[in-house]
Amino acid sequence: MAGYGKTANAAESSPIKIGAAVSDTGKFAIEGHSTKHGYEMWADEVNARGGIDVAGTKRKVQIIYYDDQSEPETAIKLIQRLISEDKVDFLFGPYSSGLTIATSAIAAKYKKIMFAGAAAANSVFDHKNKYVFSPLSLTSSYTTSGLDALKAKGVKTIAVMHSDDAPMTDIKNATVKQAEAMGIKVVSVQTVPADATDITGAMRQMQAKHPDAFVEAGTTLMGLLATRTMRDIGWAPTYVLMIQAPTEATFVKQLGAATAQGIMAPTQWVPTENLKDKYFGTAKDYFNAYVKKYGSNPSYLPAGASAAGLSLQLAIEKAGSIDTEKVRQALIGLKANTFYGPISYTAPGDPSGLTGANIHRKMLTIQLDEKGNQIVVAPLDIAEAPIQPLKPWNAR
């Protein structure tokens, strides 16, 4: 706590320090790199404009990155080091939900605002920690727009398969609950280990129930395996929604566009012209700037990371201070339209039971076309094309 007062009194021109724990290596290296690029995009944008306007003084931002290795012990140690030794003003948290919950307890203890890196699980925001924020849509809303669109297509039954980890279980629970509320019957729910290498049995059980639609909640590897297995067992439900895999370029590349065609996925973000702000321009501009800088297409992760930074920047400008409580109040009162979509955070005591979550933003749903391009098909008001039913495997 000694460090806190010191930072607030520091020279006005000194940079605002932000600590980030990202996975630079190990299993989540890809996700970690993407997220880090997003933070860099934002910091470079801010610093190119001379910094954040804090009550009339321009202050640049300086981000201190540490590699959390996806190890709980390391993540905790790094957050503690960022707070106590580097004396940062704000925190960008680690990758997984479990690590975010563990580290957010530390952030709360030292009264530091922490943006949850890429953790979208509801459990991160439902235990009354008022210092955690995230612009990402939560796991509970992943399949909402997709289910709406499927309902409109006349879908009456669905089967759900999820891998046995926290975020995917959240998605399963939310999907089952929403489907039943809409009058869609859930005919089969299957749980598979997160690192399964054979899911034929689970898939056959679902196939036997002949659902109109199949929802898969798992990582990219699980999505690859599920698609492969569907083809092997000759199961082509009319509609297929996969949580993560279809939004990753490698999915189409490894399976071929013919196999991937027609599979849908929720996505946090797409680079359209419709979303814009005065810093990054339109989502399309952001996309182009990212490609120019890093040579690859941005997924939702860098966009979400940049959006987290952007919301922090807007809150600091509004508060005219980097004092934690003032910025926290500003974040709660924030209502911004950005290249990432609308951002507003729930306050403690929100009827949703969530604190610091961006719940009013809708998830988009995309479908892969015959070339492997992602076409927005839901929500219906911004859809680029109607949903196409999946072709039988032998008709490809």
């Binding site: 590699d67 905790i76 140690k77 919950i101 459990s123 046995d164």
Partner: protein, 361 residues
Amino acid sequence: MSNPAAKARSIDLHDAGPSARGIGRYRLLALVLAGVVGLSVVPFFGVNDSVLLTMSTIFMWIILSSSWNFISGFTGYVDFGHGVFFGVGGYVTGILVAKAGLPFAPTVPLAALFSAVLALIIGYPLLRLRGVYFSIAMLGLFLAIRELTLIAKPLTAGAQGLILPSEVDRTFFYYLFFIGAVLVVSLAWWLRRSQFGLSLLAIKDDEYGAEARGVNTTVLKLTVFCLSAAITGSVGACWAYEVTFIDPGIMFRDSFLINVAIMATLGGLGTVWGPVIGSVVFLLVRDTLWANQGNSFLVVFGVFLIVLVLFMPEGIVGTIQRGERTVLGRLIRRLRHRGSSHVDLSHPTVSPAPTRIVTND
């Protein structure tokens, strides 16, 4: 590690450890006492919480690798699933605190007891297995219990995890793990000199021979296994409370299994100070590598492990004390000019267990 306090501490431990034989018992005792007193006042000198956390983590691993050393270093039964007790202990506390609303303190002895009972139940059949079979059985048990923790959702909340209402108080955990480490190292020191400890080392050297001489090896092995499990279980309980959130992946992590083995091996299997030195060196080296190596960390870490096993199998303490069979050890001996005190070490090349029963302590 740029702060002076951390530096001072690691130097303390270095001084107290390997020179055990070189400097005489009283000077060693004085050094250890000075170290203990010095470390126990560290939190009063305005050291920041990050340093306290780093140090308490080192103490925690000293307890864990020392307790692993009791079963695997002393008796030679390589427990390759010791993390099961850490996880089970953590879940006992996790469930009692998060679900039953118990305060933290009484759950720790319960976690220790539960771990010891589990060790008794599985140790009875498994400790009859010699060699690598025991290691595999323990690994199997570790994995089975992790899967069961995932499946038993009503009790453990499965992959969703449990949130423990806890205070993030670094000073409290510093003292908790510091006192634990002092106790465990004292226990190891006593064990090494007691008849009980010598009998354990006899099991490692020649179990059938020990039995023939009338040592009840089954009772000894089970006792030390339960002791080791109880210590590890209570550390798991404390750590679960410290991290405030547990799930099967966090409590039953694979890296635990290899870390305790590396720390004890690096320091010296079956020695008192080995796990202490090994934990300090390993954690400092690992953190330095993480900070500086980035993407090639895994490669550097793997090479470090291979080099350790190939060139320093007796560990730091073992090499210094009686490393006649290694190049490094012979060099150190020659430098020290002490040739009188050792028993004959010309042992047949088969099963060169690093520790002998007869020591000149």
